[in-house]
Symmetry: C2
Subunit: 360 residues, 2 copies
């Protein structure tokens, strides 16, 4: 089925090309009615689990768990792994929200802040001595700044006694994270997986579980809903403690399987090529410039572009051509546009978008 509009938005975003096909299968097999305690559901969970492990190279010891959103995971992660202190790298609205969650949970929060559009490299990050959890945001959706995988891995290696968390909400499965190094990561499905919103995915290792159990044994409350030990125990049996978003879990498995057929290396290469093309184009296009100056820190999945013309004008002109591009976030609303470069955004779509800019 061809879609009237093409979405280059940072999420909810363009749906995966085969989304409708998998949705149809979901309807035809009446999966919306099956019991979440049935063997049929367990097989669906297991399939999604296995395909994600292949796609993102996740070790079998780790648990893959499902929640209602990635924001929910911010809360559950902090509750389950921080007794006193957390540490946050903040350079935009979403890393800021992660940080605020820890404050609302009344943890002692430490923060290293960077101006919007800037990012973090390993050598400048000094982790406070008593921080238990290091919170990184691999892809800051609001500013289009990435943290490179190598920097994340180094940060963990030099702080091996702490838990390192990676918010990869708007970049998974593109970053090549080493899950034998990092402790936990999470994402939502309405970004690079090209699905409707309503499902968060949480990957965690045994170190996180051990920490949660220590907190529990000390009498700390980990919350009541979706605490790590309960989610973990259920996940190991391909179950969720409450009724989960069965449709989301089913379709995610189908999409991950399809991505595995293509091969993650090929997908990553294509994403990189599309990103390079986009940035290169806006570097030379008069009236435009990539918002992130440091090329190494430019996001591969969400390109933020400064515009001389008011962003609303550009967005409107593209909309007339059925191309939906997002405004900048927060203070960048009028002076920036955000262009998604997700897996569902094909090379042809990116080319067509550039052609449209050429007409301006």
């Amino acid at each position: 089925m061809s879609r009237a509009q093409v979405f280059f938005t940072a999420g909810p975003a363009e749906l995966y090309p085969k989304f409708e096909e998998y949705l149809q299968a979901f309807v035809e097999q009446q999966i919306g009615s099956i019991s979440h305690r049935s063997g049929q559901f367990k097989k669906i969970y297991q399939h999604t689990d296995e395909q994600l492990r292949i796609l993102m190279n996740i070790p079998s010891e780790n648990a893959i768990m499902f929640t209602g959103s990635a924001s929910e995971i911010w809360e559950k992660l902090i509750l389950s792994t921080v007794e006193h202190e957390s540490f946050h790298l903040v350079n935009g609205s979403f890393s800021e929200k992660f940080y605020q969650y820890a404050q609302m949970l009344q943890k002692h929060t430490n923060v290293l802040k960077k101006p919007l559009g800037e990012g973090f490299v390993y050598s400048e990050v000094e982790v406070p001595e008593f921080a238990e959890l290091i919170c990184t945001t691999q892809n800051e959706t609001s500013t289009g700044v990435q943290m490179r995988e190598a920097d994340i891995h180094k940060l963990k290696r030099s702080n091996n006694n702490k838990i390192l968390a990676v918010d990869m909400v708007s970049s998974a499965p593109i970053p090549e994270l080493d899950f034998t190094v990092i402790d936990t990561a999470f994402f939502s499905v309405q970004k690079s997986f090209g699905m409707p919103a309503g499902l968060g995915v949480w990957i965690a290792n045994e170190k996180c579980l051990e920490k949660a159990n220590i907190l529990k044994s000390k009498g700390k409350s980990l919350g009541a809903h979706h605490d790590l030990p309960t989610l973990w125990k259920n996940a190991k049996e391909y179950q969720n403690p409450a009724t989960p978003n069965v449709m989301g879990i089913y379709i995610l498995g189908k999409i991950a399987e399809d991505m595995n057929k293509t091969g993650i290396d090929k997908i990553r290469k294509e994403t990189e090529e599309k990103a390079k093309k986009l940035y290169k184009y806006f570097e030379q296009k008069s009236g435009y410039s990539p918002a992130v100056e440091n090329q190494n820190l430019r996001s591969k999945t969400v390109a933020v572009i400064n515009t001389e013309r008011p962003s609303a004008e550009i967005i409107q002109k593209l909309k007339e051509q059925n191309m939906i591009v997002g405004a900048g976030y927060g203070s960048g609303k009028d002076t920036q546009i955000r262009i998604s470069n997700f897996i569902a955004n094909s090379p042809e779509q990116i080319d067509n978008l550039i052609k449209e800019f050429e007409k301006f």
Copy 2:
């Protein structure tokens, strides 16, 4: 589209007859890709909000908020409205879980317990003096016991200084609750609304919000994700703090609108007639009996039936006829069956099910 199997399960359940039609509209309008901050999304939220208000007679002062599940609401409700003490009416697995959530959140919990299959009437309930929140379960899905609306209303009227919460997960919108009397109620959509799981709906009045704000001003943590004041503020602008299940909100609005076209009185009457037919049948059918002895306390939406034959045999025989019936819950697994009587279970379906039992 005709469906191969008919589900009489307590949720996930038979999907609403027009579910596929609304899903198709969701796909065609590309609603899975729209921004949850857009005017288009706000209109969707507003439509669902308005239709639910009509359907369930919810006053305009109340907020209608969306979460990932009803279980999540147990947690958020307790965190936002209980400083020290909660009180729980427990007579089955789900009211028990609500109670356990309060324990996990380290509240001082008071409980009145009844054996499985029994229920609560107003006159026997004594509410502890210092309880701040009274937790009732209108429909105990595990045992098929209901609490009558009049008893719930009386309980609130005689405890006007406390917040009264109604878990109506597997009965909404059938109970005729007076939302000018009770303070808060919640449900999930995979039961009587006939939708796939992944969306919880929380209705609360200003008294709940005031209590949450008092707790906040005292420096108590309400959690970080989906705390009541943040959800409330967003809901009043038809927004959600995080990206919600947009598909669920859209389809729920369509289904509520369709129910309003039929009229809630007619729907309630039909539900009651189907329930009567079911119970009457199993009262006279040899080898079977309604599990709840007190006729007044028998659930209208989930009938639990004692069986002399092992329940698995019955379930298997029905499955061969493409009728899916659930086993009893917990200790009733082998000796009971559970039959949903949701809105999506048409009178014809109920008749056909009874005809099948006649062949045994």
